[in-house]
């Protein structure tokens, strides 16, 4: 891995980290438009984070060091994920260190730490949130893994860049299995990023919230990091989706500069479209009861497995 690839790797991560809140802002903006509101503008998340960073942190008296460590772990984990996921180009030296399975493991680690932190304070809501978070997780994770498996069975590899390259080169071959996988992935995405219909990021209504309940006790810089990593998570998932199902336009070799430069606007456009689509879905659906969530996720899991089977059956 020479200096060039290293630089591209770093730029890719940094771009992701910087652009993540923007995507979040865009999605919220779109939702506002779809609901005939004016909306706070796409830069709102940045303001939010900046404001939080300046505040003094307030921490529950009986918080353990674990509690204060978690936001940093969250953020670090999401950055790592961004380093693995080919959002702009596929020449990612770091991707060697962690393939798709490791990626899923990474998300799981982040979730476990979040849940532990939520239980650390020992309020009713925290532990409830932790339980629900894990509940969503233990169904969503396998589904995500199965989606990756479908892709890697097609491309005979579990390393994400390789998968993407194979899929991109495949000159518009139709993969029915990927269709199933795609739907499953979309559902997982909604669940994992606490979007409607599984969860509602905008509410603090105790009985319905999942993700928010886990971070109730955080404030100031810790909350900022959490918010940021949440945005980054959404960004990562979107990029995974794009990479798996719309892999065209990612720069393959990292040496031709114009490829790299060309990749940015393409990805940008794709992200804008995806964000709008996400907002659209959220606006068209209503939040479901928490007890329905398992059914929703089981469906996702089954769809993913179905995709796998379809692939094995049709060999495509």
């Amino acid at each position: 891995m020479n200096s060039v690839t290293l630089i591209t790797q770093l730029t890719e991560v940094i771009l992701a980290v910087v652009a993540a809140p923007l995507l979040m802002g865009w999605v919220n903006q779109c939702r506002a438009w779809l609901q005939n509101r004016r909306g706070p503008g796409v830069l709102q998340p940045y303001r939010q984070i900046r404001k939080l960073f300046h505040k003094d942190a307030v921490i529950a008296a009986n918080a353990s060091p674990l509690f204060r460590l978690v936001p940093y772990v969250q953020f670090a984990a999401m950055c790592l994920a961004a380093a693995i996921i080919p959002s702009l180009w596929t020449g990612l030296p770091f991707a060697v260190a962690a393939d798709t399975i490791a990626l899923v493991g990474l998300f799981a680690t982040a979730r476990v730490f979040l849940a532990l932190a939520a239980m650390d304070i020992g309020t009713a809501f925290g532990s409830m949130g932790a339980r629900r978070e894990m509940l969503v997780g233990f169904l969503a994770e396998p589904a995500l893994l199965m989606v990756f498996f479908t892709a890697s069975l097609i491309s005979h590899s579990t390393s994400l860049p390789t998968i993407v390259e194979t899929l991109a080169q495949g000159r518009l071959a139709i993969y029915p299995s990927l269709a199933f996988a795609g739907v499953a992935f979309l559902m997982v995405l909604l669940a994992e990023n606490a979007r409607i219909p599984v969860d509602n990021p905008a509410t603090h209504l105790e009985l319905t919230m999942i993700h928010e309940a886990t971070v109730l006790e955080y404030s100031a810089r810790h909350l900022a990091l959490i918010e940021w990593s949440v945005a980054l998570k959404l960004f990562n998932y979107t990029c995974i989706g794009l990479a798996l199902f719309f892999p065209w336009g990612l720069a393959a070799d990292t040496h031709s500069l114009q490829d790299l430069l060309l990749a940015m606007p393409i990805t940008g456009v794709k992200l804008l479209v995806a964000g709008f689509g996400l907002a659209l879905i959220e606006s068209l659906n209503t939040k479901m009861r928490i007890f329905r969530a398992p059914e929703f996720l089981t469906t996702a899991f089954l769809l993913a497995v179905l995709g796998l089977l379809v692939h094995l059956l049709l060999g495509s």
């Binding site: 960073f53 307030v58 770091f94 260190a97 490791a102 476990v112 304070i121 009713a124």
Partner: protein, 667 residues
Amino acid sequence: MTGHPTDLISVTALACGWLAIGLLGFIRPRSTGWVAHGLFPLGAVLGIAVTALALVALVQPAETLILPLGLPDLHFQLRLDALSAVFLLLIGATAAGISIFSAGYFRSGEGAAPGLLCLQYHLFLASMVVVVIADDAYLFMVAWETMALSSYFLVTTQHRLPEIRRAGFIYLLIAHLGAIGLLLCFGVMQGGNWQFTFEAMRAAQLTPVWASAAFFLALLGFGAKAGLVPLHVWLPEAHPAAPSPVSALMSGVMLEIAVYGVLRITFDLLHMQLWWWGLVTLGLGLFTSLFGVVFAAVQTDMKRLLAYSSIENIGIIFLGVGLTVIFHAFHMPLLAALALAATLYHCLNHAFSKSLLFLSTGSVLHATRERSLGKLGGLIHRMPWVAWLALVGTLAIAGLPPLNGFVSEWLLLQAFLFTPDLPHSYINMLLPMGAAALALVAALAAYVMVKFYGVIFLGQPRESSLSEAQDCGRLERIGLLWLAAGCVLLGIFPVPLLALLNGVSRELLGASLGSQLQHWWLLAPIAPERASYSPVVFMLSTVVLVAVVVLGVRLFYHGRVRKASPWGCGFPLLTPRMQDTAEGFGQPIRQIFEPLFRMRRELPSPFDTSPHYRVQVEDHFWYTLYMPIAGWVRRISSLASEVQQGRISVYLLYSFLTLVALLAFAL
């Protein structure tokens, strides 16, 4: 027979050494100081020695030795090859940690005399070593049953409690059942020449039918010890009953010894492997793991929870065995080697992390005298050492990167990803289901572990008495540290160890991952572009990133912190009892997997003045399998007792009729 079997002799000597230590306990059986601070550390040292020897033996050719003991025409045969070495490594390394912990753990005035415990404990260790190096059926059976017996006595240390007596009885009964299965298995495998050395069994040529019989008898015998469903019932009884170091030893080491037996018989002694054995094993393993993890999720006793989690891990291991058999049967040596490596690696992982967790529950038990999850909580403040070290074990069992549990699961999933290359169409339709189930199990394990750790160590203490809990002593810390270090190292440097494991796969399968492991830092079992994972880089970058972020935040902003009471969403008075209980945490699982359980509920009606709620989750197998058998025995015996009904005329009639019948028969 390669030269002078120095390693083997020294291993035997070490086993005898453990035995000697046990006997030394009788010099001053009642003095805790002598036993705990004198003998147990010594035992730990021997454990380290065993580990070192095993590491040496892993790369050396097999050695054999014959002792002038045993049956007149079947002397004790010993053999030390790579497979034995791996499990010696497991025994030694784990035992070292557990012994040093026990040195601090055993207090005076608990159950039996410490000298006795010392004897039983070290007899247990020695017998496990002998099982691993035994090379004939008789010695194997002797060591195997000695292992069962010594562990039985250890389990029943607190024999004054009826449920512990019951647990011990069930344990020994099922162990005996398994032993009978093994006896039959060896009887089948001798293959006609009535030699009971493993040497002869290797040479024996069985027909597929008999080979299958042998395999499934072995599966029965070792499954009973490993806790394969439906022979698992003893496990959740015995593990909570035993003192924590013992449960650690049983769950962390003894179960893996059973796996050793399966591997030894399947790949070494039997000359053929049929693919459908693998399929059955794999199915059993999957069901066991799912069963185990789901039950673990609804437990309210921390040691029962861990016991069920052991069942889950055993399931995963047997799944690996099954996969290995399938690949081997279809002549895919490289993939078989991959699956085998995953299996062995998972054995090691489970040994370290599970014993770590059992030991930490032991410390918690000592500090709080409390086993039920409903009465713990917030211990991370009172006993930080235990809490932070237990966190390592928790994450490892949950199979999260970059710790060791993840490595073996990663390898297994990789192996699964190659099943489509199998020449058998509907297996490679089936196996992805396996992968899916494995993924589900792994995710559920994370759920369980969050419950375990969160309820015990995090949150607020649910009982006021917890506030005077003491952190564990120095020796215990050393033991925990040793095991935790094992977890981390196994997690971060898998490649060198896998390279060591190559010896085993070369010995059993005639193939190894050797060529695939040239970079010490990169785990790419098949090919880098196909799949790769580098825990070192992963770990380092995580640490670096966290550090960068922390520093960054400190640099650009400030580190000011105010303490305040937690925010209760405007709810005025929060009490510790409002935290999620263990039952609460298990509730979604109970709902989703309802048919797996047999539940007895006591739900309060809205009009209760003092509402109280109780859910008891039980095991279907107990009622559908074991109870009926017991019933049958009772019925037959009551029939038999009609024979002995007290009237001498009737007795005379018996002998008269017997006589007449025999005379008629003889004519």
